[in-house]
């Protein structure tokens, strides 16, 4: 526990850079984190306090107290204390182990190194010693140590890129940028050391996407928002270094604020168990009352006269009072009816399951060397009961690795391989990949197999050239040459990357860009195009264009975008080509490829100049700026000449289709919540079999607000009534009309397999382990206790013995109906267990003529029968016998007998004559033939009805698993299990959506030159303008990202 709780709640935070003394007076926490709960000293008190908040333990304690009252005490105190101590110790050991690992990981994190500016020098310091107000240096790919205010970075204008996967799971990079005043500090240590700005900001909170604060420095104030903040847990990417000032440290960081106390999640089994335990408790009370009344009556009628032998005190002669005392005695005696240790055994089982999950090689993802990891041990069995799987974003379904597969240029498809007979065949790895292998820039992994395209390029087909040129020019990719002289493309969306790379491999190499030029290498010759305008992508335009002037002076507009959009804007002369390309697109789409249409337009100089002037005017306009710009874009992007179409494959993650199919067969509904375009979402939905052609009702739900979406969903639900799966495509649009789609859904392979395998395995897992553990906890321990305290088993409380294990058994098929069947079974078994020995012992002498109906022999007989009956029941329930099962089942019987013999041995009696009065009992009883006959009869009588019942159930109402088991058996006889047929890729008539996974705003970023190195200095003349612009694009970007975040939080409410 951290004792850092402030005396007063922090309302706002004031931090001064490089001034530890100043900051100290606010007593901010340092960067040390404590996720552990205890230390060596506090462990015992805190853990015990926590444990005794549990009903089960309190119940035991209550019993213990009851037992200390001699008038009531019917069992010795250690009957209760043994299980209690056992339970508490086991839980404590588990908690201690957990905490030990937390300590270890805390230590590891706290001891990470980071460079801190101390005394005007950069010094290596452990994370835990970093203080609020410190300036720390981060290097590329480093984890951020604390919540920082970004001061400066290696990138121009104080930009830096971070990956927030640890925080929100998004793998795409986010941009952060420093205030211009601080970004000037650069890497100048002396200037940074002198930086003494004061930040006044919000108090620590857990909102990852909000930050408000003000930096006061050099007499001026600068407002701070989330875009200036790098949060702990992020990783610095594509930025060689940056400096930041610690605002929140350690437990105050947003990450830690979010990862606060883990809420204990209760599974439905927990809840059911609680209910049942309450019922059982009620049952126990009723039993106690009935028995107490019985006792009163007996006292009144019989006991009264029997007093001669006891000379009871006068006070106890009152039969009502005696009944009252009896009630409490019975509560104690029958306490084992309440299956308190069930909770513990369930915990142990869950722990075992999670180990199995972690150990499962089938759930090992070799790609990332990641085994499955069960993060919580409390929800394992819930995995067998999943009804809905939610997946965020379509990107989880796909590998997000795009490959350029096919294209249609001027009505001809390239990328299909024709065999000798002229029939299309799928591209196979046998074919040699094509490409200009002479080119040093060749990407050796480029999997394009069509030689026809190469021939066309070589022959100089102008359309083909224009097509590739467009691919090399019209994009937002940034290029960089690394030290080895290789071109590195910084790709903002992978499908663009695929296109540019394709062009590169086909001889049109995008080399470099400045805000005003684009240089490409066309079949070996460098050509520089002047970038005149960049008509950026957005979700409504669904296209992007560039207007360039080639060295010959011609102005061209190159456009790529969604076919539906682009086809509307074509010149009428394209009609024939359009139909042809359209067919091709359908074909591509049928293969699940993502398509884009490609077109260009020749512009004449004068027209462009006019247009450009209007654009500049519009840009300068104060009101309706966006609308005017959009209008101008519309205006120029028309009369396009169609070039063709591209088809990019976004490979689904391995096994997604199979997983999705299995999940839907398992009647698990899948929801994908995605921020993708509707087309992409639908496309992927089809691609991974979530949507199929025979699903005729695909609902597109578009609503602009949460309320609307809810309404739409409700309507769709009405329509869908009876159908088990819906494809609801909620289009929630916020301020900036950022679409959010609620989608029906899929699944990442790794996690998907996890769920699936658990589904498949849950049967065996339960069978094996439940039963094994059941044995340890339920047969061994109570038997151990019973061996000592055989008084338990007298007439009344024999009732409880079978019930003692019944509720445990329920875990297999845990519902109330089953529960009552089990209770009935338990009552039957207990009756058999009591009355058969009773009848058999009544008035009977043993082999040596001595009476065997003494209560000790009777108790031993019943206990032995019980243990064997329970073991036989378990043996019958175990359908999967491993060595461990054998050991536990037979072992528990063996243990029982050895404990019994030990307890009844002369030696033990010699030492503790008072505690072990059963001396010689086992030896005497178990050598009697008639006792074994009684035991045998008891077993037969208690087990046979169960077997008969099950047999009839399987015969009359076979469950699916029964049928499957039978089928498996039949299959096994015939031949080994058939491996699953590989799923054939769907062939769908559906038009594949165009897919473009990138954000708006990058065009602006490019034309402003903000993200370019100094070696391409922006024209000085435009500096002010670009500076002004820069804020706007960054704002735009930010808006996009925050929208996404907020829309995600929104869809949680929508989903209700």
């Amino acid at each position: 526990m951290f004792c850092s709780k402030k005396k007063s709640l922090e309302v706002e935070r004031i931090v001064k850079a490089n001034d530890r003394e100043y900051n100290e007076k606010y007593q901010y926490t340092d960067n040390r984190i404590h996720t552990c709960k205890y230390n060596i000293l506090t462990f015992l008190p805190i853990n015990l306090f926590e444990q005794f908040q549990r009903v089960a333990n309190v119940y035991f304690l209550f019993l213990l107290i009851l037992q200390l009252i001699p008038e009531i005490s019917s069992l010795t105190w250690f009957t209760t204390i043994v299980p209690l101590v056992l339970v508490v110790t086991m839980t404590a050991v588990k908690d201690a182990t957990d905490d030990y690992f937390r300590h270890k990981s805390d230590n590891q994190v706290n001891n990470r190194q980071s460079e801190v500016l101390i005394d005007s020098k950069l010094q290596n310091e452990k994370w835990m010693n970093v203080k609020v107000g410190d300036i720390i240096k981060l290097e590329n790919n480093q984890f951020v140590a604390a919540d920082l205010l970004l001061l400066s970075s290696s990138e121009p204008h104080g930009l830096c890129y971070i990956e927030t996967a640890e925080l929100d799971g998004e793998t795409n990079l986010k941009v952060r940028h420093a205030l211009s005043v601080t970004s000037e500090l650069g890497a100048d240590i002396s200037r940074l050391a002198k930086f003494d700005g004061i930040v006044v900001c919000e108090a620590p909170n857990n909102k990852l996407d909000k930050f408000t604060g003000v930096l006061s420095w050099k007499g001026s104030e600068h407002s701070l928002n989330n875009e200036k903040i790098i949060l702990r847990g992020c990783v610095l990417r594509n930025t060689s270094w940056c400096f930041g000032m610690v605002i929140f440290a350690g437990p105050d960081t947003k990450l830690m604020q979010n990862s606060g106390k883990t809420k204990f999640k209760r599974t439905s089994i927990d809840r059911l168990m609680n209910t049942l335990v309450l019922w059982i408790f009620g049952f126990l009370i009723c039993l106690g009352i009935i028995l107490a009344i019985g006792n009163s009556i007996w006292e009144n009628q019989v006991g009264d006269q029997f007093r001669t032998f006891l000379f009871w005190n006068e006070g106890e002669k009152n039969s009502v009072f005696s009944g009252f005392l009896t009630f409490w005695s019975y509560i104690i005696i029958l306490n084992t009816v309440v299956p308190i240790s069930l909770y513990v055994s369930v915990e142990v089982i869950r722990l075992g399951h999670s180990y199995f999950i972690n150990w499962d090689r089938k759930m090992y993802y070799s790609g990332k060397a990641t085994p499955a990891q069960a993060r919580t041990t409390t929800l394992n069995e819930e995995l067998g009961q999943i009804e809905y799987v939610f997946s965020d974003k379509t990107g989880t379904l796909t590998e997000n690795i795009m490959t350029f597969k096919k294209c249609s240029i001027n009505g001809r498809i390239y990328g299909e391989v024709h065999d000798v007979l002229g029939q299309k065949t799928d591209m196979t790895k046998k074919k040699e990949a094509v490409g200009f292998s002479v080119s040093p820039q060749d990407d050796s992994t480029f999997p394009f197999f069509d030689h026809h395209l190469m021939e066309s390029i070589k022959m100089g087909d102008p359309k083909v050239h224009e097509f590739l040129r467009l691919l090399a020019l019209c994009h937002t990719v940034m290029s960089e040459e690394n030290s080895a002289g290789e071109l590195i493309y910084q790709v903002q969306s992978p499908d663009e990357g695929a296109l540019v790379t394709a062009a590169k491999n086909l001889g049109f190499i995008f080399k470099s860009r400045t805000p005003e030029t684009i240089t490409i290498e066309e079949l070996g010759t460098l050509v520089t195009y002047q970038l005149l305008a960049f008509l950026d992508f957005n979700n409504f335009r669904k296209r992007m264009s560039v207007i360039v002037r080639n060295p010959e002076g011609q102005i061209k507009l190159y456009s790529k975008g969604a076919d539906t959009i682009l086809f509307e804007r074509l010149h009428p002369s394209n009609e024939d080509l359009l139909t042809l390309t359209s067919d091709h697109l359908s074909e591509f789409a049928g293969e699940g490829l993502r398509t884009l249409a490609i077109a260009y337009r020749d512009l004449d100089d004068k027209y462009f100049k006019e247009w450009h002037k209007m654009l500049e005017d519009a840009n300068a306009a104060v009101d309706e700026r966006d609308e005017r710009i959009a209008g101008l874009y519309e205006e120029i992007e028309r009369d396009l000449m169609l070039l063709g179409a591209t088809a990019v494959e976004d490979k689904l993650q391995e096994g997604v289709i199979e997983t999705v199919t299995s999940l839907s067969l398992a009647n698990i509904k899948i929801w994908v919540l995605t921020g993708d375009k509707q087309e992409t979402a639908i496309n992927i939905g089809y691609a991974c079999n979530m949507l199929t052609d025979d699903m005729n009702d695909v609902f597109i739900i578009a609503g602009n607000t949460a309320v609307e979406v809810r309404e739409e969903l409700r309507k769709a639900k009405e329509n869908l009534f009876g159908q088990n799966r819906s494809f609801s495509n909620g289009h929630v649009v916020f301020e900036k009309k950022q679409p959010l789609e609620l989608d029906s859904v899929v699944e990442e392979t790794v996690t998907g397999d996890y769920a699936l395998i658990i589904n498949g395995h849950s049967l065996t897992v339960y069978d094996q382990w439940f039963i094994t553990l059941f044995n340890i906890v339920y047969t061994s321990l109570p038997v151990l206790a019973m061996g000592i305290f055989d008084q338990d088993v007298n007439d009344q409380n024999s009732m409880d013995c079978p019930q003692l294990y019944k509720p445990g058994q329920l875990n297999l098929l845990f519902n109330k109906h089953k529960f009552f069947i089990c209770v009935a079974h338990g009552i039957y078994t207990s009756l058999a267990l009591f009355f058969i020995p009773y009848g058999a012992f009544y008035n009977v002498a043993g082999e040596d003529g001595q009476h065997i109906a003494d209560y000790q022999s009777f108790a031993v007989t019943m206990a032995t029968s019980l243990v064997i009956v329970v073991s036989v029941q378990i043996a019958l329930d175990t359908s999967y016998w491993t060595i461990i099962n054998h050991v536990f089942v037979w072992g528990s019987i063996a243990t029982y007998f050895s404990i019994l013999l030990t307890m009844h041995s002369n030696g033990l009696f010699g030492i503790f004559p008072r505690q072990f009065p059963f001396v010689g009992n086992a030896r005497h009883s178990l050598t009697q033939k008639c006792i074994w006959l009684v035991i045998l009869l008891t077993i037969v009588a208690s087990v046979m009805p169960v077997v008969a019942f099950r047999f009839l159930k399987v015969d009359l109402f076979p469950t699916l698993s029964d049928q499957i088991r039978q089928w498996q058996k039949a299959q096994k006889k015939a031949r080994p299990l058939r491996s699953r047929k590989p799923q054939t890729r769907r062939s769908s008539s559906r038009r594949s959506g165009y897919a473009f996974a990138h954000q708006e705003g990058y065009g602006e970023l490019i034309t402003s030159g903000k993200n370019m190195r100094a070696k391409y200095p922006p024209p000085t003349s435009g500096l002010e303008k670009t500076l002004y612009n820069s804020t706007s694009w960054i704002e735009n970007l930010c808006k996009k990202t925050t929208d996404t975040v907020s829309s995600f939080s929104q869809d949680k409410t929508v989903k209700l």
């Binding site: 640890e166 032998f309 008035n843 082999e847 040596d848 108790a859």
Partner: protein, 357 residues
Amino acid sequence: MSQKYIWVTRRTTMKRKSQDCPSRLPDNSAVKQQQLPAYRLQLSANKILFGFFATGVFCLGVGVILLLSAKTIKEVEINYTEKCANCAKLRENAANFDKECNCSIPFVLPETMKGNVYMYYKLYGFYQNLYRYILSRSNSQLVGTDVKDVRNCAPFKTSHNGIPIAPCGAIANSMFNDTIILSYNLNSSIHIKVPMIRSGITWWTDKYVKFQNPSFQNLSSAFAGTTKPPNWPKPAYELDEEDPGNNGFINDDFIVWMRTAAFPTFKKLYRRLHRIEHFTEGLPAGSYSFNITYNFPVNRFQGEKAVVLSTLTWSGGSSLFLGLAYMVTGAVTWLAFFSMLAVHLRLRERKMFFLQQ
């Protein structure tokens, strides 16, 4: 219906795995991969049906054997509560405890009781299984370690003047103390006392482990400082006047009594027939009489007492119950077998259909 949602995301908080781990591929051991060699228990219909049939045969067989052997047992039970009414009346008043009362009950044995014959006393309505009654004893006293240890013996711990009782407790105090002597009336004038053995009627462990006299040369001095239970006419060390070795805590009758019965009606072994002279074959048919010294009061708790003579079989003194229970179980199992068979055959076609699916 509660619905379960599981969020599947790639979201991770605080990933702190050490990256330098060489391989995180889980071990390929059979335990971890849940691939322990296993036998899949498949109870097919045929197996189950066969099992039921066999169990039925077994139960019926055992039942028949038990019933037949139970029939061979000869047993004579004579309830002498009413027959010794005057003694019973005398004992109703606790003040008369020191007055002797004898009672003779003649009876005729129509058939010879062959083999070992055992004599029991039998009590009706005596709750030796009463919880407090069972607890009211001191095992450490009875094992001779501490003759004055009377801790658990309430309400018979000490006498009125505070002297610890030995043996203490309600069980010991209520010990059955009738003397029963069986006489064989060879003819009207010659009455032979049937020779009886009073040893070997206890468990070995009881006699030699659980009950031990305090180790003194003189038994009466071993019991010094203690007093006799209030209901007893004599102290423990004078229980058996004939056999000095049968006194104190190791007295056989005492040990038998101390092994408390599970039910309110019980019989306890009293004597075994000493097979000598006339009785080498067992008890010959003829007229007998029980001479009872009536000490034990049963009227106070509306109980009854009886004396039982019985022979044994291989399984002991089995009653009809076990045999009948086996018969019933066997019959029910067969009934179940036939009905299951019927159901199974009727559904066979349906089953085949499933299998083909």
